[in-house]
């Protein structure tokens, strides 16, 4: 296994992503967790670019870091769960159990998956892979039914969230 520049860049990105992912779980303050998550998603977007999936990388940054995370932060602010209102995390057996079993899950899966894929190198990519044209074409031909179903789902989500968040006039 030779160290290539690509590997170095990947290692840096992956390390940052993993660290901030741990940060999401570790920070007691919800705002900090959210910011860590934003960072994670951002790095992930870069990784998508690195995998030639340009369209999805853009989408990742716009949708996740742009929209969803803003929603999270907005709710955190709204419910006043920032620094002033930190939920006291009591130590309890669940913590140990969670960490132990989470680590064991990762270890077990990695032990099975990683050795198999170590030799797996990427083929030469075509220009089309991950381009908006291809994605769009496939989305609106082969996947048009799921696409429509998802559109209905999104509509329901909008209606549902409006109903839930509405103030009851009583």
């Amino acid at each position: 296994m030779t160290i290539t520049p690509e590997l170095i860049v990947f290692g840096m990105l992956a390390g940052m992503a993993a660290l901030s992912a741990v940060g999401v779980v570790a920070f007691k303050n919800a705002v900090r967790s959210a910011l860590c998550l934003v960072f994670t998603f951002f790095i992930l977007g870069f990784l998508y670019f690195a995998l030639n999936a340009e369209m999805l990388g853009i989408t990742q940054i716009v949708v996740y870091t742009g929209a969803i995370m803003v929603l999270f932060l907005f709710v955190i602010m709204l419910l006043n769960l920032g620094a002033s209102h930190v939920l006291e995390e009591k130590s309890d057996p669940k913590k140990a159990v969670g960490i132990a079993f989470g680590v064991s899950l990762a270890a077990l899966l990695a032990s099975q998956v990683v050795p198999l894929l170590l030799k797996f190198k990427a083929p030469i990519p075509t220009k089309e892979f991950g381009s908006p044209q291809v994605i769009g074409k496939v989305l609106f031909t082969d996947y048009v039914l799921p696409f429509e179903a998802v559109s209905v789902l999104l509509l329901l989500g909008v209606v549902g969230s409006v109903l839930l968040a509405k103030r009851r006039m009583s």
């Binding site: 079993f101 064991s104 899950l105 077990l108």
Partner: protein, 672 residues
């Protein structure tokens, strides 16, 4: 349309009238001209239907019933019920009575109800009633009879409760509807039983019209010959239905309360037509009753008892419409006595004459009430003859007719009823000749009838004093909207109201005589009596029937005159402490009504409360709670696992996932 299909027009016109009144009437009846138009369009369909009825009757061959078929209604395997009409002498007689008297009463109502704000609603109901009643009498199968039966019940409910703002009227409407439910239960069971019997007939060769009369009449004799007890059961069930609709003893109690409705309604529905549908049913199914002496005896006994009971009660009434209501119940009893005695055509004869004079008397009382600004208590009347000449004259004719004065219509039919009961040998239970007893009771009731009608007439039109002149500010039961006071001037009714009175008076005077000539009516109705073609004798051997009837009428009238000639006697005035005990009890229906109503309201509520506290709370809930506690205690063993902590559930899930992955790795060997 050729001859007999015209009968659909008779049925359709009132329905069209109902639709028009119901849909457009409310926009028209706000103005005087609009009311005139609505009134015209309410009277016209019924009047035209009457003319068509006359045409169809003229072209009818009495010995041959015509069935006019139409579209199918219910089509099942082994059962088909088409919409079909039966034109025969019985149904056409009823059609003529309904549409003829109906048209007159519609005309009367245009005057009587002219002050109403819900003018069109009233006529919509009235037209709907005519349509439903026609379906009842014209339908050629029991299910169409049932539609009509329920339809007239509905209209009766709507019209009794026409002034629904008043809680008393709403209660009366509910009472009528609920009591009729009991009768309808019997009718439903009866007609289903008949259809079931017909279906089991061995001779049914693929015939599916189980409810149609022609099929029933064809197969019933054989079936009843095999199974006479079933015939009795079916007949008695049908009679329960007839009791409800025709206000016979156990179920009569809705009819007096039904007088809460407007007077034209009382005249049309609760005197002339709807309440006679029980008699029509008995005539239709006469074959069934003829084969069952027991059922006939029950019919006779119930009819006789009702006649007597209602007549006694009528003597204690002070409300003019209540007197007429009990009189109606009593006269219906007469009709059932005739039917029970086997002289079905006599029942129809009395239906016809009674329709004439009772409609007349009701309309006349309506005119009096109208003139006395809606005061209905006879103790406030007196000497009205000079104020209301037309009303007085016509009502006098009606009064003489109902009392059984020779020559007028009531005399003929009543004499036939008594005669057929005394001569009839159909109504038997063992050795007890119920028919004969009923006949003698009817004779007594005839005298009572003459007496209470005399009382009513004299308190209203004669006497020495005009009672309302000495009205005090407080008196009796205040129904909230009469403004009768001492300087009130009664006024004669408008032309639209007295024309029907005159026509009905003419019919009451000569109708009976005309129909009795040469036994005209008997042959006419007997033509449609499937079954025994031989009518029972109506003139018993060795009893001077004519003399007895005239004697009874004279006795009643003279007794009435002796007591009431001078008007209101002190013993029946406002001071009820002076009343005779018996009369007070009679006014109270001897407590029967209260007993019935209480038994189904307060008493049954008390019973329910007891059942609730004892049985329900004790036994049922004990079982329920026991079962609940058992499962709870069983579940309690496991429910400590359910902490409600979502995170714990997630941890357990994670443990499970790890265990699953481990298992897969171990069992499949994993990656070497």
């Amino acid at each position: 349309m050729e001859g007999n299909s015209l009968i659909w027009l008779t049925l359709g016109l009132p329905i069209l009238g109902f639709l028009f009144q119901g849909l457009c009437g409310r926009f028209l009846d706000k103005t005087v001209a609009g009311k005139k138009l609505v009134g015209l369009l309410a009277v016209a369909p019924v009047a035209i239907a009457f003319l068509i009825g006359v045409m169809v009757t003229k072209s009818l061959n009495p010995s041959k019933a015509v069935v006019v078929s139409s579209i199918p209604w219910i089509e099942l395997k082994g059962l088909s019920v088409p919409f079909e009409l039966r034109i025969d002498t019985l149904s056409m007689t009823m059609v003529l009575i309904i549409t003829g008297i109906g048209a007159l009463i519609h005309l009367y109502a245009t005057g009587y109800m002219s002050e109403e704000k819900d003018f069109a609603r009233f006529f919509a109901y009235l037209n709907l009633f005519i349509a439903a009643m026609l379906i009842l009498v014209l339908g050629n199968n029991l299910l169409m009879l049932f539609i009509g039966w329920e339809g007239v019940g509905l209209c009766s409910y709507l019209l009794i409760g026409f002034w629904y703002e008043d809680i008393a009227n709403a209660k009366a409407a509910n009472k009528a509807f609920i009591v009729n439910r009991i009768g309808d239960w019997g009718l439903t069971l009866g007609l289903l039983l008949i259809a079931t019997l017909v279906a089991t007939s061995p001779a049914m060769q693929g015939e599916t019209r189980l409810f149609s009369y022609d099929v029933i009449f064809q197969h019933l004799p054989k079936i009843l010959a095999l199974n006479p007890a079933m015939g009795t059961v079916a007949a008695l069930l049908l009679f329960v239905g007839a009791c409800g609709k025709s206000a016979q003893f156990p179920l009569y109690l809705w009819l007096p309360d039904a007088m809460a409705g407007p007077t034209p309604v009382s005249a049309l529905i609760h005197a002339a037509t709807m309440v006679t549908s029980g008699v029509v049913l008995m005539n239709r199914m006469s074959m069934l009753f003829e084969t069952s002496p027991v059922a006939s005896a029950v019919v006779c006994a119930v009819g006789a008892f009702t006649a007597l009971f209602a007549a006694i009660i009528a003597i204690g009434q002070t409300d003019i419409k209540k007197v007429l209501a009990y009189s109606t119940v009593s006269q219906l009893g007469f009709m059932f006595v005739a039917c029970g005695a086997g002289a079905y055509w006599v029942g129809m004869f009395h239906v016809t004459t009674h329709a004439f004079f009772k409609a007349l008397l009701f309309l006349g009382s309506g005119a009096v009430i109208h003139a006395m600004s809606h005061e209905q208590d006879m103790r406030n009347y007196g000497k009205l003859a000079k104020y209301l000449p037309i009303t007085f004259g016509t009502m006098m004719v009606g009064y003489l007719a109902i009392s059984g004065v020779p020559g007028l219509s009531g005399f003929y039919s009543k004499e036939e009823v008594i005669g057929s009961a005394l001569a009839g040998d159909l109504a038997l239970t063992g050795a007890l000749e119920v028919g004969k007893w009923s006949g003698w009771i009817c004779l007594i009731v005839a005298a009572l009838t003459a007496m209470y009608m005399t009382r009513m007439m004299w308190l209203t039109f004669f006497g020495n004093t005009e009672q309302w002149r000495k009205l005090e500010p407080h008196h009796g039961e205040d129904d909230g909207h009469h403004h009768l006071n001492a300087d009130h001037k009664p006024h004669e009714v408008p032309v639209s109201m007295w024309v029907p009175l005159v026509v009905l008076a003419f019919l009451s005077a000569v109708g009976g005589f005309y129909l009795a000539q040469g036994d005209r009516f008997e042959h006419w109705i007997m033509a449609s009596q499937i079954g025994a073609k031989v009518p029972p004798p109506t003139h018993p051997e060795g009893i001077p029937l004519m003399a007895l009837s005239i004697g009874a009428a004279a006795l009643g009238i003279l007794a009435g005159l002796a007591v009431y000639f001078k008007g209101l006697p002190a013993k029946e005035g406002w001071d009820e402490s002076l009343w005779a005990k018996f009369r007070l009890r009679a006014r109270d229906q001897f407590g029967y009504d209260r007993l019935m109503v209480n038994s189904v309201t307060t008493d049954s509520a008390a019973f329910s409360a007891a059942a609730n506290s004892g049985f329900d709370h004790g036994v049922i809930e004990g079982i329920g709670e026991g079962a609940g506690n058992l499962t709870k205690s069983l579940g309690g063993i496991f429910n400590s696992v359910q902490t409600g902590l979502v995170r714990m559930y997630a941890s357990v899930m994670l443990i499970g996932v790890v265990a699953l992955v481990l298992y897969v790795i171990v069992s499949f060997g994993g990656v070497k």
